[in-house]
């Protein structure tokens, strides 16, 4: 490892070297801040960088280490957070103009957990506005560029986090996933991303988009790094009433567990469609071969309601979003339109100025779907179809331990390529959305490169709270299909 540059170390390597005293947290933090200063202007992965705060935190970690004090498994290691997690006293924008000046008076549970584990916070990552988007192009703070090819999008909505991890501008980060927002950018940037079971990671202080679907999770450069980071952020939280009180297993131990005997289900509906790029299909087939070569067995399964998932999602998510985003009214925090004669006018103009086009579109769809006379036909109907989609997965997991699918139908597309037609953009989440509707966990692991040298990810899905099976299968794919873990971008 001697010739691997510091910033390319894995999260586990960095943590172990700080612990062993081979490098100080200050040296590590300084190296990454230097890299951010030189590369972030081109990639735009960070909307906020915290050099002074990060160096002070690093110095405190070094001082504690000298006294033999360790906060936790991330002691002294620099990481980043999607700008959707509240950070006390640090601007938290959610990618929106309406929150451009918001300084939360409290930390999200996820923020508190990574800080308690000893992590140094480098800054906040760019994202699609309110996590609504698949390309990071809807951010008020400009598009994030894919470090594998700066003319392409990094995916979204956690595109800033995936790009920062892939470009080695942090050792790992935490994103959120409502319909694929961790897994799709992880796939497009060649890194590992995990959407845990609904209720596994606290949503307290994580700015809400669609409350019945949102879930926070790790983005990292190795399966083991993602496993470690999930074990840090997972767990019951009394401040989130949908948080589930089940013990957090040792995810890291699952990564090296043999896959012999593991039943890998292949949902036939995920491989037949016309939109699937042949290079993606071939790469996922190589991932399957890696699993069967190591003793797993492949079984065909069927998820018959798959083709209805996107339509269901685009009713459920906007409906919940329209309700959640009602709180942004210019009264207590954030942007306020100037010069209004009355309260209603102030609110309507504040929201018109503060929200971008995609967010407005979804608020409109959601408000329409919930409005008098339409509730049953739209939101009520979608909730029933959601039950059918859950049932599909429950049946599939009777015969399979994990499901293997593509994460996204194509590698990263070009900036501007899909902004003209919202429905085309929505289709890039076609393989990731059903997982959120069913509340099950999903993981994207790199499994190859396209002919143009762009990363391709394979998606693994398992039953509720069976994340260990995902880490086990992903570890086996990672060992057999080596893909560069840092984007070849040098700036």
């Amino acid at each position: 490892m001697a010739n691997v540059p510091v910033h390319e170390w894995t999260l586990l390597e960095a943590a172990s070297r700080v612990r062993e005293g081979e490098i100080s947290s200050r040296e590590l933090t300084e190296a990454l801040l230097g890299r951010i200063a030189s590369l972030n202007p081109q990639i735009n992965a960070y909307v906020t960088v915290l050099p002074e705060r990060a160096m002070a935190q690093a110095a405190a970690c070094d001082e504690e280490r000298a006294r033999g004090v360790f906060r936790g498994p991330l002691h002294g290691v620099p990481v980043g957070l999607k700008d959707i997690f509240c950070t006390r006293g640090i601007r938290t924008t959610c990618g929106s103009r309406i929150l451009h000046n918001f300084e939360p008076p409290y930390d999200a549970t996820v923020t508190g957990k990574i800080l308690s584990a000893g992590a140094v916070l480098l800054g906040k990552h760019n994202m699609d506005e309110f996590a609504m988007g698949s390309s990071t192009e809807t951010s008020h703070f400009g598009v994030t560029r894919n470090p594998w090819d700066l003319t392409r999008i990094p995916g979204g909505s956690s595109g800033g986090t995936a790009a920062a991890v892939a470009a080695a501008l942090c050792f790992a980060g935490v994103g959120t996933d409502t319909g694929g927002s961790i897994r799709q950018p992880a796939s497009l940037c060649g890194v590992v991303g995990v959407k845990p079971t609904y209720g596994r990671v606290s949503r307290y202080g994580m700015i809400a988009f669609a409350s019945s679907l949102d879930q926070g999770g790790p983005i990292a450069r190795s399966v083991a790094d993602a496993a470690l980071l999930l074990s840090v952020i997972a767990g019951y939280d009394r401040r989130d009433s949908t948080s589930v009180d089940v013990p957090v297993p040792d995810y890291l131990a699952a990564v090296d567990r043999p896959v012999r005997g593991l039943r890998v289900g292949l949902p036939k509906e995920y491989f037949g469609g016309g939109g699937l790029d042949p290079a993606v299909k071939a790469a996922v087939e190589r991932a399957l071969k890696a699993l069967t070569d190591q003793g797993a067995t492949a079984v065909e399964v069927s998820l018959p309601h798959t083709s209805f998932a996107l339509a269901t999602y685009y009713l459920v998510a906007p409906a919940e979003a329209s309700s959640n985003l009602a709180r942004y009214d210019g009264v207590r925090y954030g942007h306020r339109a100037e010069g209004s004669a009355g309260l209603i006018e102030m609110m309507s103009r504040t929201r018109a100025e503060g929200f971008g086009a995609e967010v407005k579109r979804r608020i409109m769809i959601g408000t329409y779907a919930l409005s008098a006379g339409y509730y049953e036909a739209f939101y009520g109907k979608a909730q029933k179809v959601r039950t059918l989609i859950r049932g599909d997965f429950a049946k599939a997991f009777e015969g399979a331990d994990v499901l293997l699918t593509p994460t996204a139908p194509t590698p990263a597309f070009r900036i501007g390529e899909k902004t003209g037609d919202p429905l085309t953009m929505y289709l890039s989440d076609i393989y990731t959305i059903p997982c959120n509707l069913a509340g099950i966990p999903g993981l994207s692991v790199p499994c190859g490169l396209s002919a143009e040298g762009l990363p391709i990810g394979a998606q693994l899905l398992s039953a509720h709270f069976r994340e260990e099976a995902l880490f086990c299968a992903a570890g086996a794919i990672e060992r057999a299909v080596p893909v560069p873990r840092v984007a070849p971008f040098r700036g």
């Binding site: 009713l315 009602a326 009355g342 018109a352 409109m364 509340g439």
Partner: protein
């Protein structure tokens, strides 16, 4: 599933979104296309299906009805776009 310009303006009022004339026309077009797409779920028979509001089965969580003060009042108020002492200041609520 075409929606009318009047419906767009009505929904925008419900959502407290000021929209321009151009925006209303564009939204009418885009919302019609999206609603047309999502209407495909009508093809499914869901008469005997129970709706899902949360995907992970769990009961209603209870907690003690106890007050725990937040403490940092100033951190809350300092985010206000306009304030007067410990109050959020807003434009006139009742029109003349």
């Amino acid at each position: 599933m075409a929606i009318t310009r009047e419906e767009v303006l009505h929904v925008a009022r419900l959502a407290r979104l000021a929209v321009t004339g151009d925006e209303a026309d564009r939204l009418r077009e885009q919302l019609s296309a999206i609603l047309e797409y999502v209407k495909q779920i009508d093809r499914l028979d869901t008469r005997d299906v129970v709706p899902t509001s949360h995907a992970v089965e769990m009961g209603t969580p209870f907690r003690d009805d106890a007050v725990s003060p937040f403490g940092d009042r100033e951190a809350l108020l300092s985010n206000a776009p306009d304030r007067e002492g410990d109050f959020f200041r807003v434009p006139r609520i009742i029109e003349d």
